[in-house]
């Protein structure tokens, strides 16, 4: 027989009531924490232009986006929040006094191989602090993350703090073109995890950057020199003529003959990227090798930066941010400084950090991204930083360290109309109880008393209130306490008080 059931899409989850209650509770608590620091809520759309994330989020995110063409527009499901928040800031909030503090929570989507802790739809809960540069803002974001962990009672979290400034400075010093820099940043995390792969990584990146292929083409260099002697415009004309005579038609298509020839000349004179790549990869290895607690890592990092002829600015910024961060709580914290930390996204420019649970799963991450506002069309250079929790992973960590039970039961009383004719009176009573802040459910299926008692028992509803013709005539309600197995007849006017008293007694008994 044909099965008509439709399954959910792979890598997504149906968050069922028990779990969703925990999620709602967590979202509320985190929202409260963020609000204590002045972060205001914002909710950008799930659907965005693909372009938004290609602009700065990094090359490899493109392959992991749910992107599609809908009536000739390139759209995607957001793979992360920050770019969306900054787009919304640029669109609407540029006139507000800085810093603009924003908090958000919602689903994000990435097409990755699903695993135990990795899903294709997941929930990010975080903040962005737009328009503040420097260590104090970085420290605030770290403190908000820490506060969130405390509010969720996550024990044993580990912070890893890095800074991309050092690597960027080295790459600039090496004169690496933008694409090569981006490739190097892209492999940092991999190098950190697998330091033995350094040489393989250098070879792979060099190949991606076209190392070797130009030098294979014989005496192209001589031709390049000759063409160069004609000057830029002359060279393009001469080369174009030569190719035309050789029956290569350079016209047509998206590229002009001069563009093609210009790029050819440029390519001929490009140095082999391998030495620069090797030095960059060595540097990342050095950064990795001195990672550790701040007391040891900071002085060691200063030495490494000096060895490579770099400023110690990044180390000073990390040091200052950690000092401010300490001032927020004063209590000690499992924290490592590791300047080889890159994070998956390409817009970070300064301090970055990640938080791991006891089992080594990443539960939060963030950092500073001073160029993103401009890259997304902002009027003025606007430094910014932020972070987010992965809600599902955070809750998994909570459940491992300090399991939280789903509130049970969801309602305090079940109201039963004995006959359909009693429904109106029962509905009025339910409204009264709800006004008193008591959650109740009404039997809407008109089942017999026995079935209703069984239902209350199975759902752990502590009180059953029944109302029939007799009760109505007497102006009372039959109240059955499911735990005490006793039934009382309570005057209609005193029902709310009686239920409240029992609910409170029940809560006290549970708490005691």
């Amino acid at each position: 027989m044909e099965n008509l059931e439709i399954q959910r899409v792979r890598g997504t989850n149906d968050v069922l009531p028990e779990e969703r209650l925990l999620q709602e509770e967590a979202l509320a608590r985190l929202g409260e924490v963020f609000a204590l620091y002045g972060y205001a809520p914002i909710d950008p759309p799930v659907l965005e232009s693909t372009d938004l994330f290609l602009r700065k989020a990094g090359e490899e995110i493109a392959a992991r986006m749910y992107s599609f063409t809908h009536w000739n527009r390139n759209l995607c499901l957001r793979p992360e929040f920050t770019a969306s928040i900054i787009r919304a800031y640029v669109n609407h909030l540029q006139d507000r006094p800085l810093p603009v503090r924003l908090r958000y929570a919602g689903p994000t989507f990435r097409y990755e191989k699903p695993g135990l802790v990795r899903h294709r739809q997941f929930t990010e809960v975080g903040v962005e602090c737009i328009g503040a540069e420097g260590a104090a803002a970085d420290a605030e974001v770290l403190a908000v993350a820490r506060h969130g962990l405390d509010a969720m009672h996550v024990a044993g979290a580990r912070f890893v703090v890095g800074h991309l400034g050092a690597v960027f400075e080295l790459l600039a010093q090496l004169g690496m073109p933008a694409r090569a820099q981006s490739l190097v940043i892209g492999v940092m995390d991999h190098l950190s995890r697998a330091p033995g792969e350094a040489e393989r990584v250098v070879e792979r990146l060099a190949a991606m950057l076209g190392a070797g292929e130009e030098r294979d083409s014989g005496d192209d260099g001589g031709l390049a020199e000759l063409l160069r002697s004609f000057g830029p415009e002359g060279a393009a004309r001469v080369a174009g003529d030569l190719l035309e005579r050789a029956n290569f038609s350079l016209s047509g298509g998206s590229r002009s003959p001069s563009e093609i020839v210009e790029r050819l000349l440029l390519k001929w004179h490009r140095p082999d990227p391998t030495p620069a790549l090797r030095r960059a990869v060595d540097f990342i290895g050095e950064l990795r090798s001195v990672a550790g607690p701040p007391m040891e890592a900071l002085p060691a990092l200063r030495r490494v930066l000096a060895d490579f002829g770099l400023h110690d600015g990044p180390v000073r910024e990390v040091e200052a941010a950690l000092e401010y961060f300490d001032a927020y709580t004063g209590t000690s914290l499992d924290l490592r400084v590791d300047l080889s930390l890159a994070r998956g996204l390409r817009y970070y420019t300064g301090l970055v950090f990640e938080v791991y649970d006891e089992d080594g799963n990443q539960i939060a991450g963030g950092g500073r991204y001073d160029d993103l506002v401009r890259a997304l069309g902002g009027r003025a250079p606007t430094p910014a930083c932020g972070f987010s929790f992965g809600l599902e992973r955070l809750l998994a960590a909570v459940q491992r360290t300090a399991p939280v039970a789903t509130p049970d039961p969801l309602v305090s009383a079940l109201l039963v109309p004995v006959e359909a004719a009693d429904y109106g009176e029962v509905a009025a009573l339910a409204a009264e109880l709800r006004r008193g802040g008591i959650a109740v459910e009404v039997d809407v299926r008109f089942r017999g008393m026995k079935a209703n008692l069984r239902h209350a028992d199975r759902r752990h509803i502590p009180i059953v209130l029944a109302l029939g013709e007799r009760e109505r005539a007497e102006g009372v309600v039959a109240l059955r306490d499911m735990s005490a197995f006793d039934e009382a007849r309570v005057a209609r006017g005193e029902v709310v008080g009686a239920v409240l008293a029992r609910v409170r007694a029940g809560t006290r008994a549970e708490a005691g």
């Binding site: 694409r179 190949a207 292929e213 298509g253 998206s254």
Partner: protein, 340 residues
């Protein structure tokens, strides 16, 4: 009522003749009474019904269960695969219909020789406010390949007509298309780029695992086909070489053969005594049989000669059966545990 037949789709046009030849060689001759008919039978398996369809449609036909098995190009399977499809690749390499899906650029783009060049060109076209346009019938494979190789700015033109003409007509900059010899590309003034091979493909056998899992009858017919195909594919690279070698005992002959060659057959040489026709021939002759890969035939002949062989014959093996048909075992496993 008899059980419904196992339905198999074969590619019409393009791969049709090669597919029929392959099946014939497997001992599964397709009996097509009228070449204009789109239905046929396998004469050795009466419960198999064959239809001919376009190679590009066969994946969908197998996926939705219109047919149970299909032979099509791996390129089609790779392009149309989904995580939740019902299709198993039962035999990935049938040994014919080989081709490659490649990126090809205009010859005039003399500055472009590698995929890295393309990523730079894509970025510079992008900077000018346009997209690198790539015409292809394989949008999924092409998109994934470009992303994996750092080419992020492009737009795909899904086209089903003659792609090779698109760059010359100005409707696309590049194409990603199937080529076997490269002649068509050259005729259209296109060149492949280094590292730009997206996929190597050949004919493969696919099946709908739910449909096969539901019917023991279909499954048994599938097993018979897999047995024949697997045995044929396993045998094809090998020759059976037999030589008469003079020697004292079978053991001394065996030692000599093994010492002279590393071609010890699939399981060591088979050695049998030869009984001479005339009684006055008192030499002891043994027939030595080894199985060798086709491309090492001459090595084997030379080695056997060194071991004292005369009269060497070589014959093509038709089928090599092992203790099980492994492709069938693999199919059974996915039917039993579909979610792995």
């Amino acid at each position: 009522m008899s059980a419904p037949p196992l339905r198999m789709a074969l590619p019409s046009k393009g791969m049709e003749e090669e597919t029929i030849a392959f099946l014939r060689a497997c001992g599964l001759p397709v009996d097509r009474s009228n070449p204009r008919q789109y239905r046929a039978r396998v004469s050795t398996l009466p419960d198999v019904e064959v239809t001919f369809q376009r190679a590009g449609d066969i994946f969908a036909e197998v996926d939705d269960g219109s047919v149970d098995l299909g032979i099509t190009g791996y390129d089609v399977v790779a392009e149309f695969r989904r995580e939740d499809d019902q299709v198993n690749v039962l035999l990935p390499e049938l040994g014919y219909g080989r081709c490659s899906l490649v990126l090809a650029a205009p010859e005039a783009w003399i500055d472009v020789s590698s995929v890295h060049d393309l990523s730079e060109v894509a970025a510079s076209i992008r900077a000018a406010g346009r997209d690198l346009r790539i015409a292809t019938k394989y949008p999924n494979l092409t998109r994934q390949f470009l992303y994996d190789h750092g080419v992020n700015y492009f737009s795909l033109l899904e086209s089903s007509g003659a792609l090779e003409a698109a760059p010359a007509l100005g409707s696309a900059d590049l194409i990603a298309d199937i080529t076997s010899s490269g002649v068509t590309l050259r005729e259209n003034r296109l060149k492949t780029v280094a590292g730009g091979t997206i996929l190597h493909s050949e004919a493969c056998l696919i099946g709908n695992r739910a449909a096969l899992g539901r019917s023991a009858h279909k499954l048994e017919n599938t097993r018979l086909m897999l047995e024949a195909m697997e045995a044929y594919l396993r045998a094809r690279p090998y020759l059976s070489v037999t030589a008469n070698v003079e020697g004292g005992t079978a053991e001394t002959v065996a030692r000599r053969v093994i010492a002279h060659t590393d071609l010890a057959g699939l399981q060591g040489p088979t050695i049998a005594r030869v009984f001479p026709k005339s009684a006055d021939d008192d030499a002891d002759w043994y027939a030595v049989t080894v199985i060798v890969p086709r491309d090492r035939l001459q090595d084997a002949v030379d080695a056997l000669r060194r071991a004292g062989a005369a009269d060497i014959t070589a014959t093509q093996l038709s089928y090599v059966f092992q203790s099980k048909a492994w492709s069938y075992e693999a199919l059974l496993r996915t039917i039993q545990a579909p979610d792995e």
